[in-house]
Symmetry: C2
Subunit: 168 residues, 2 copies
DNA sequence: GTAGCAACCGGACCGACGGTCCGCTTATTG
DNA sequence: CAATAAGCGGACCGTCGGTCCGGTTGCTAC
């Protein structure tokens, strides 16, 4: 059982980290920042979450941006799936980018699940990974930066998914 | 005109950096390492190359891994182009990954050139970026890590490029 | 209530890294 | 050979992720 103060601190840290990353992006957020914003000492962060990657993973898992949420989407076509994935990523871009940059844990179980599911829809594991490469947070941020609109990207992703699925 | 000793140091630094990155990967190579390996002081590195990103850019530009080289490839079909790109990336994986991780300079002129050329072959700018996303060093390293062979990836890339081109 | 204990806390501390600075050295030129 | 500007090296700095430990506090058993 987790002590009451510990639970309070965990919640405060998650909230602080989420907000800071959302508004500044992971590169401009240090652990000290998060600890200060949550009103706790730095040691507490590491006690709770192990390391920076652990904190970010916990943040993402506590939001709609994790593969866990994605794995339970109900969906028929490749295009539909890709569209949903895109919406998930876009809604939490800074968080997704943060987790991409810090964790090797994309290899977790739920990610594999998503890959397999996608592979069935688009004909091959390679194509599944190709689609996911296009859906990476950094890729989408880059395209937005290039001046593409979210709608254009969304359409492109869906069209790509359907094109791949058509060859099956 | 660059002084003789300066030129010698530049060459030594490029050689040292190239070798170290190739054998250890960028994450395990610090500027101090490079300076020591080249037998010069740390200040010299920054005098010559400005910052770490500048050094890596210079390393890549001095090899076959840069967009500059790629832009001058002579090629007919999307698949052929993609295959050549893949070979370039694979041959210098650690270098490509290094430059991806450190520079915002992927937006340089030669990169744009490649995007435009590819866009003509595969029908849209979005599709061009999608292909390039799949050809990123980190993506390829990830797939290799997952157990795919280079040949499988190469085939997948070419097939993807041709599929996209077919829709034009 | 209170005593005892384990879990917890905070922040001083550490090593590594990218980057700066400046007094000394050296290649170059006339 | 003298003058000078370019170059050099490594001590130094600020920041960051991560560790450590002496003091504190929530919980439980009596």
């Amino acid at each position: 059982m987790e002590r009451a103060d510990a639970a309070r601190n965990r919640a405060a840290l998650l909230a602080a980290a989420t907000e800071l990353i959302r508004e500044r992006g992971i590169d401009a957020v240090s652990i000290d920042d998060v600890a200060a914003a949550a009103g706790v000492g730095k040691g507490t962060v590491f006690r709770r979450f192990g390391d920076k990657a652990g904190l970010i993973q916990a943040v993402v898992d506590s939001t709609a941006a994790s593969w866990h949420q994605v794995a339970s989407l109900d969906v028929r076509t490749a295009g539909e799936f890709a569209g949903q994935l895109f919406d998930h990523v876009l809604a939490s871009l800074p968080l997704v980018i943060a987790v991409e940059r810090t964790s090797a844990r994309s290899c977790e179980a739920n990610f594999q699940l998503t890959v397999d599911r996608l592979a069935r829809l688009v004909g091959s594991t390679f194509n599944a990974h190709a689609l996911l490469a296009v859906l990476r947070g950094e890729q989408i941020a880059f395209l937005l930066d290039q001046g593409m609109t979210a709608d254009e990207i969304r359409a492109g992703v869906i069209s790509l998914a359907d094109t791949l699925a058509a060859g099956v």
